[in-house]
């Protein structure tokens, strides 16, 4: 089918407008980070780098950043281990109930986040587990497993089985074959799955608000509590810019090394 030139032009203009719609808020945000005025009105009143210095000097922001990095690192490692084990089991074996189990792994991201959040919180409370960084890690690992799992499964599906068979024929046991053949084959999938899980954890707020205790603030929670106040600190703009960069850069790297699951946005 050949579209008329008018239709083609209209579609091009519409797509361009949608791209502006998608990126304009992010551009505005970056502009505000350099805005001299502490009041958030438009247009900005001048250029300054002061807020970056102020953000770097704030102990509350530094603590929140450290918490976010700790949580994201531990939950990524947990998710990678659990996701890889699950992927090996699901991809290399066939067994009864396999479909139900693969459904189970996607359930934490299929049900609304608020349900996951309140579920975890109500059981932490029931068992008398104090909320803190450890409960955030438990929550994040649960929904990050599926990201790692999806990446590794996609890779295992494409890896040829013949090198593994050859390795077994040459007398290597299954551990040796895994270490020398399968693991190197999965390496970039593990790396990109890990980066995606890290980005997902670093940015999460819906479930985190339920799992975080009063003392345990991640960076997004710090931003959220700032936003709920009537007067916001201008450093929020700087932290917001930092959050965008820390969540986008790992994904960009993951895409460069060939991650399969970027299009899903992880949610």
């Amino acid at each position: 089918m050949v579209e008329s030139p008018l239709v083609r032009a209209a579609l091009r203009i519409f797509t361009g407008a949608v791209m502006v719609f998608i990126y304009l808020p992010l551009v505005i945000l970056a502009v505000y980070a350099f805005n001299a005025s502490p009041l958030g009105g438009w247009p900005p009143s001048g250029f300054t780098l002061d807020w970056f210095g102020e953000a770097a000097g704030s102990p509350a922001i530094r603590d929140a950043l450290a918490n976010s990095l700790t949580v994201a690192t531990i939950s990524t490692l947990l998710a990678l281990i659990l996701g890889t084990l699950a992927a090996l089991a699901m991809q290399r074996y066939s067994f009864f109930g396999k479909n139900s189990i693969s459904f189970l792994f996607v359930l934490p991201i299929a049900l609304p986040g608020v349900v996951t959040g309140i579920s975890l919180q109500s059981s932490f409370k029931l068992f008398g587990i104090d909320l803190g960084l450890h409960t955030i890690v438990i929550a994040h690992a649960t929904f990050c497993v599926v990201v790692a799992y999806n990446n590794v499964v996609a890779r295992l599906r494409r890896l040829p089985r013949s090198p593994e068979e050859a390795s077994a024929d040459l007398g290597a046991d299954s551990w040796m074959t895994f270490r020398r053949i399968t693991l190197p084959g999965m390496r970039t999938a593990l790396l990109s799955g890990g980066l995606l899980a890290f980005a997902l954890s670093f940015d999460e707020v819906i479930v985190t608000l339920f799992a975080a205790g009063p003392g345990a603030r991640t960076l997004p929670i710090w931003v959220f509590s700032e936003l709920q106040r009537s007067y916001q600190l201008p450093v929020v703009n700087v932290v917001a810019l930092l959050l965008v960069l820390v969540s986008v850069i790992p994904v960009w790297i993951a895409q460069r090394i060939g991650g399969g699951e970027i299009a899903r946005g992880g949610r």
Binding site: I28, L29, G40, A89, F105, P112, I118, M176
Partner: protein
């Protein structure tokens, strides 16, 4: 030692499978399914009217009575589902032309660029995107500034339409991507056949392309609908009309788990219903 262990696993493939699955399956079952079960039980547990503490295994329907006797809960549920449907429809309406341009008109280079451009914002901090819209929508923000020459004022941060706009913004890429993939799958020969048979542009779109896109639209709508129905940050930050998620969050903050749990049934039941509906439209083959 390792050799002895791996040798044993070599001879017992079922045991290997069990060892592989034990960790991940145990985690998801205990942490996730276990919590879900505990949440559902909370809905039927009573609360001490004096201390406000939850009394586990003290069965009652009080939480459901409280929800059904107060029309506010019904209003909030209807509002949330209504906005989630509106978000889904508007995301589909925006996604169709964009995906069509990407799949059928843009050059391969431009297509690749657009794909990345649509995908990247999905990862650019959810909370920050909402914050960016706050700065645009507030009375003295960019929107108010842009329309002030016409004697209009910025919308401020109380309008419910803000939630509609921001949720559509957030979940739009989830609709564009499957619709684009769906358009890619339609063979050119089909469109040529339609043209040969005299179907002009609009007729071909309505009678040939659109019916084939229904599974893709349904797949995208699972994301836009589910993510909207469970959101409580957007309604909290850009408007003052509460969603289901706000009621759940506020009640949990007050320690009122039975009511929070009972109200959680609404998004769970609605989502299960929606997933079954989407499956009938063929959504799962397009995910």
């Amino acid at each position: 030692m390792i050799r002895r262990i791996t040798g044993w696993f070599n001879r017992h493939p079922r045991a290997t499978l069990g060892a592989l699955l034990a960790g991940p399956l145990g985690w998801i079952s205990v942490v996730y399914l276990g919590s879900l079960l505990i949440l559902l039980m909370h809905a039927f547990w009573s609360k001490d009217s004096f201390t406000g503490k939850v009394e586990p295994f003290n069965w009652t329907l009080d939480a459901f009575v409280q929800i059904f006797s107060n029309p506010v809960y019904f209003t909030i549920a209807a509002r949330t589902i209504g906005i989630a449907l509106l978000v889904t429809i508007s995301a589909a309406a925006i996604a169709l032309p964009v995906a069509y341009y990407m799949a059928r008109i843009a050059s391969p280079r431009k297509r690749a660029l657009l794909l990345v451009a649509v995908t990247m914002p999905l990862w650019a901090s959810y909370l920050v995107k909402i914050y960016a819209w706050r700065t645009i929508l507030q009375t003295n923000g960019l929107l108010g500034w842009a329309i002030s020459p016409f004697g209009l004022e910025g919308p401020g941060l109380t309008e419910i339409a803000n939630s509609w706009l921001v949720l559509t913004y957030l979940w739009l890429p989830y609709m564009i991507l499957p619709v684009y993939a769906g358009l890619e799958r339609i063979p050119n020969s089909l469109l040529e056949a339609s043209a040969d048979l005299g179907g002009r542009g609009w007729i071909t779109f309505r009678r040939v392309i659109f019916p084939q896109l229904i599974p893709a639209l349904a797949a995208g709508s699972i994301f836009t609908f589910s993510l909207s129905i469970g959101d409580y940050i957007v309604p909290d930050l850009v408007s003052d009309a509460k969603f289901i998620g706000n009621v759940i969050y506020d009640n949990s903050a007050l320690g009122s788990f039975p009511v929070a749990a009972a109200f959680s049934f609404v998004p769970i039941v609605v989502m299960i219903g929606y997933l079954l509906f989407a499956r009938r439209l063929g959504a799962f083959e397009s995910l």
